[in-house]
């Protein structure tokens, strides 16, 4: 009997350890719901949560690949957001170029920034901290020079609508409740259920170890319930924001890359043991290089999102964004030593950061004190990672 209890306790402990951050997210969210007397749970605030934190998710996904290579970070993402935003503002508003052409130019500018930094980091082996610290000054300086210290506003509606609008289907969404949102939720759940069950069945058919049905089905039910609740809330406001579709797309693509491609595998291997990876015939320089090209590319995408959201390009845009992105990764379970971390975890981390931001705003925490809280949360997350890792290393020997 007692051994049964012990096994149960071990299982619970493993479950808690594996899902610490999800549980933390739920606890923090409920805390703010209670403290704000339910305002945190209003449809409008749920919508705000998505709109305000879209850039964090995008940047954090890029940052994750850098961190995977060995705990390396990119300090320049905020400055890159500012610079690319400035380029967009000048070309679109001041010069009136075609918006799609400008968007492509902006993304290419991001890639160029990444090539610049990646080259020094990967092939000359300058420490990433130094290169990106230099980039942080360099790109913000350039941005401010381009903007001349002023804010450019007046982006065309055609541009803003790409990121800021909501899915509206005529007839269906003309009333107070946007039914398209609920339909979207149902479709998402259906795809998720079919995909999960199908992979599980195919695994079973091929005779591989499968997840226990109980945990499989409870996971499906839980996730679908969350998705439907979210969509229901959004349907009471303006429906599904376009930016959510962008985020789902980015997260899906990067989840696939990290989990299912050889390219993604190389990142984990590099962070786990660089020498072993190199001796396995993998070009480690190229992995470093692509990590930094990628993060700058995503920063450029985030710049478009941010400039559309603020309907302007301003010299202070992107300030401290790197900290949000780095924080999301570590809170989301990425290892400070590299080699460990998942896109799904990073999304949880980013949402937790977002909930903290929004929740503290709603209940009126002083903005200085907000920084204190975020700083402590980040530190605690990394301490947690390092200490649990140390324990694991001890069990190795």
């Amino acid at each position: 009997m007692s051994s049964k209890n012990a096994i149960l306790w071990e299982k619970t402990k493993a479950f808690l350890l594996k899902n610490t951050m999800v549980i933390a997210l739920v606890v923090v969210y409920l805390f703010f719901v209670i403290r704000s007397e339910g305002r945190m749970f209003l449809p409008q605030n749920i919508n705000n949560l998505i709109m305000q934190n879209s850039y964090v998710v995008i940047l954090a996904v890029g940052m994750l690949l850098c961190i995977l290579t060995g705990g390396n970070i990119d300090l320049s993402v905020g400055a890159t957001v500012c610079l690319v935003g400035a380029i967009a503002g000048v070309l679109m508003v001041n010069l009136g170029w075609n918006i799609y052409l400008v968007m492509i130019i902006c993304l290419l500018a991001g890639v160029a920034i990444g090539v610049w930094q990646g080259f020094w980091i990967a092939y000359v082996r300058i420490p990433p901290f130094i290169v990106t610290l230099a980039g942080m000054l360099l790109f913000r300086g350039l941005a401010q020079a381009i903007l001349g210290g002023t804010t450019i506003s007046g982006f065309s509606d055609a541009y803003l609508s790409i990121f800021n609008n909501y899915v509206t289907i005529p007839l269906l969404d003309s009333g107070a409740v946007k039914y398209s949102s609920i339909i979207f939720g149902v479709i998402c759940c259906a795809i998720f259920i079919v995909a999960t069950v199908w992979t599980n069945l195919s695994k079973k058919r091929k005779g591989y170890v499968t997840e226990k049905p109980a945990s499989l089905y409870s996971r499906i039910v839980l996730l679908c319930a969350i998705v439907m609740l979210l969509m229901y809330k959004l349907s009471l406001y303006k429906g599904v924001p376009y930016i959510l579709l962008w985020l789902i797309g980015i997260v899906a693509i990067y989840t696939y890359i990290t989990a299912k491609t050889t390219f993604g595998r190389h990142f984990y291997a590099l962070g786990g043991n660089e020498k072993a990876t190199k001796l396995s015939g993998i070009n480690t320089n190229r992995i470093y290089f692509s990590a930094y090209v990628n993060v700058s590319f995503l920063s450029a995408l985030a710049a478009l999102v941010v400039s559309a959201r603020f309907t302007s390009a301003n010299p202070a845009a992107g300030t401290n964004y790197e900290l949000d992105a780095i924080g999301s990764c570590f809170i989301g379970g990425a290892s400070a030593y590299g080699g460990i971390g998942k896109v799904s975890g990073v999304v949880v981390g980013a949402v937790l950061m977002g909930v903290l931001n929004l929740g503290m705003n709603i209940i009126g925490v002083d903005s200085n004190f907000q920084k204190v809280v975020k700083g402590l949360v980040l530190l605690v997350a990394v301490i947690f990672d390092v200490v649990s890792k140390r324990r694991a290393v001890k069990s190795f020997t």
């Binding site: 091929k206 491609t261 050889t262 001796l279 396995s280 015939g281 080699g339 069990s395």
Partner: protein
């Protein structure tokens, strides 16, 4: 009744699965130079680590009597306070600090908040004078050659009021002149009453300086020879070092050697990766036939690993010269990827450091060198990967519940099997095994020998680098002996003996 500065009594030290020292007793007389000799892994360094407190009191059995009193050293500091200083084979100097700063590192002159630099440099100059090193104490360590660095280490030991100086292979990387200087310095110290324990493979040097020689083999003391009582020559020492019976620790094997030469290296030279004036592989020529197991015997630091890695896509070294022929055709392998494509595999001696990713499961480690085999257009087929990982695990008998187990949680023997699985999965024609059985138990060793035999039976060729001579003799068809970067002997396994190998290793050191 002689005066013993040190008595180590019945020391037994165990590591998980290995008894490194088994009831070892050692007596060192005051004011003598005492030499410890034995093969790699015999337990010399472990014994010295026990003495100096690197393995704290309580982690071993037995007792240490030093200056007539039992000692319970918890850390190096404790033993240093008592006047025991150990100088390791790898020098522990900080390259970008000056000689004086290094000498008093952790032992600074003045108070901890106010270092007295004048005293530091004056004292350092004094000590440099004692060891006969004509350098300013302001010189940075990085600007010194390895021989002079060794002298700085000794001066550093002197600064700690050393009574018992332990040197672990002090002359391994020194040239003849520097070695001579160092040995004479030890004799000088002896006159001043400093006792030394020296670990060395260079028997001629030992014969030159030692008063007593203790021979250690397989974690036990074989004998202690007193140079004053009997004439001891090198062959006498060698017999003591290797005098072990070959038992049936190896599976039955028959030669599978075919005539085709699969790998041929000519005039291969490699410079050290950091010190490019140091030649680590010197004009080596080498042949490997299909189905053959060729051993490279030698001591640690002989240049074997450097040779193997430089062949494997230039993964080690600078300024690599020489020609490499695979199946009779000359090729240039510029990186590891090229090497793998050409059917080479290098199974590293350092499985934790550069072989495996400990934080990843068996499955991921197994396929890492050949992800293309489990992917289509760079998209991984995780089901297929799982399947092949299971197959390799079965084939090599890795003991683990599933292939999702992190490699870091496996025992050394099982980790080694995963590493072999990884490279067998790469399907090479030529497999270079660098110390494939280091640090694993006898049972796992036997299994790995069986795997090697299976490999050659399947028409592969194997290069086995090993410091364990019985293993080389028991497993190989042909043996090269390497020493100081050169091939110093080539022999058929049938005619080879441990004595022959050892004397060809030592023959190079003779001139020193």
């Amino acid at each position: 009744m002689s005066d013993h500065i040190l008595e180590m009594r019945h020391i037994t030290k165990e590591f998980p699965g290995v008894k490194a020292l088994d009831d070892v007793s050692l007596e060192v007389r005051r004011g003598e130079i005492h030499a410890l000799v034995g093969e790699n892994g015999a337990g010399k360094s472990t014994l010295m680590n026990v003495l100096s407190g690197i393995y704290p009191y309580g982690s071993y059995e037995g007792e240490i009597i030093y200056n007539g009193k039992p000692c319970h050293f918890q850390k190096i500091r404790d033993s240093e306070k008592a006047g025991i200083v150990i100088i390791h084979q790898e020098l522990a100097l900080v390259p970008y600090l000056s000689i004086a700063e290094n000498m008093f590192l952790g032992n600074e002159r003045g108070s901890s908040v106010n270092i007295n630099w004048n005293e530091t440099y004056a004292k350092a100059d004094e000590l440099l004078d004692v060891v006969g090193l004509r350098e300013s104490s302001h010189t940075l360590i990085k600007d010194l050659g390895i021989g002079k660095q060794q002298m700085v280490e000794i001066a550093k030991a002197l600064s700690k009021n050393v009574q018992l100086l332990i040197l672990d292979e002090p002359t391994a990387s020194l040239n003849e002149g520097d070695s001579m200087k160092l040995l004479n310095l030890l004799k000088e110290f002896k006159k001043q009453g400093v006792t030394s324990i020296i670990i060395s493979h260079k028997l001629n040097e030992i014969a030159y300086v030692a008063d007593q020689i203790t021979i250690i083999r397989d974690g036990a003391v074989i004998e202690t020879l007193d140079m004053a009582e009997q004439a001891v020559d090198e062959s006498r020492i060698i017999r003591g070092m290797v005098g072990r019976e070959l038992t049936s620790r190896f599976p039955q094997r028959e030669s599978r050697v075919q005539d085709e030469v699969v790998l041929e290296v000519e005039h291969w030279s490699v410079q050290h990766a950091l010190y490019s004036d140091l030649t680590v592989v010197d004009d080596v020529s080498f042949k490997l036939k299909k189905g053959e197991v060729v051993g490279i015997a030698g001591l640690m630091g002989a240049g074997r690993t450097e040779f193997a890695m430089s062949i494997f896509g230039k993964s080690y070294g600078n300024d690599i010269r020489g020609t490499l022929k695979l199946h009779g055709k000359e090729v240039v392998l510029n990186n590891e990827r090229d090497a793998i494509k050409h059917g080479l595999a290098y199974v590293t001696e350092d499985r934790k450091g550069n072989g495996l990713i400990l934080s990843n499961p068996i499955r991921v480690n197994t396929t890492l060198a050949r992800l293309d085999k489990v992917s289509h257009h760079h998209v991984l087929d995780l089901d297929l990967e799982y399947k092949v990982a299971c197959q390799m695990k079965e084939k090599l008998g890795v003991k683990s519940p599933t292939v999702e187990q992190d490699v870091g949680n496996l025992s050394g023997g099982n980790q080694q099997k995963v590493l072999l699985a990884k490279w067998m999965f790469a399907e090479p024609d030529i497999m270079i095994l660098d110390e494939p059985t280091r640090g694993i138990d006898v049972g796992a060793k036997y299994e790995i020998y069986c795997i090697i035999n299976d490999l050659v039976a399947a028409g592969k060729s194997v290069i086995m680098i090993s410091s364990e001579m019985p293993e080389v003799l028991g497993m190989c068809d042909r043996i090269y002996v390497m020493s100081q970067g050169q091939i110093v002997g080539e022999m058929d396994a049938k005619s080879a003996t441990q004595e022959r190998i050892m004397s060809s290793i030592l023959s190079v050191n003779k001139g020193a």
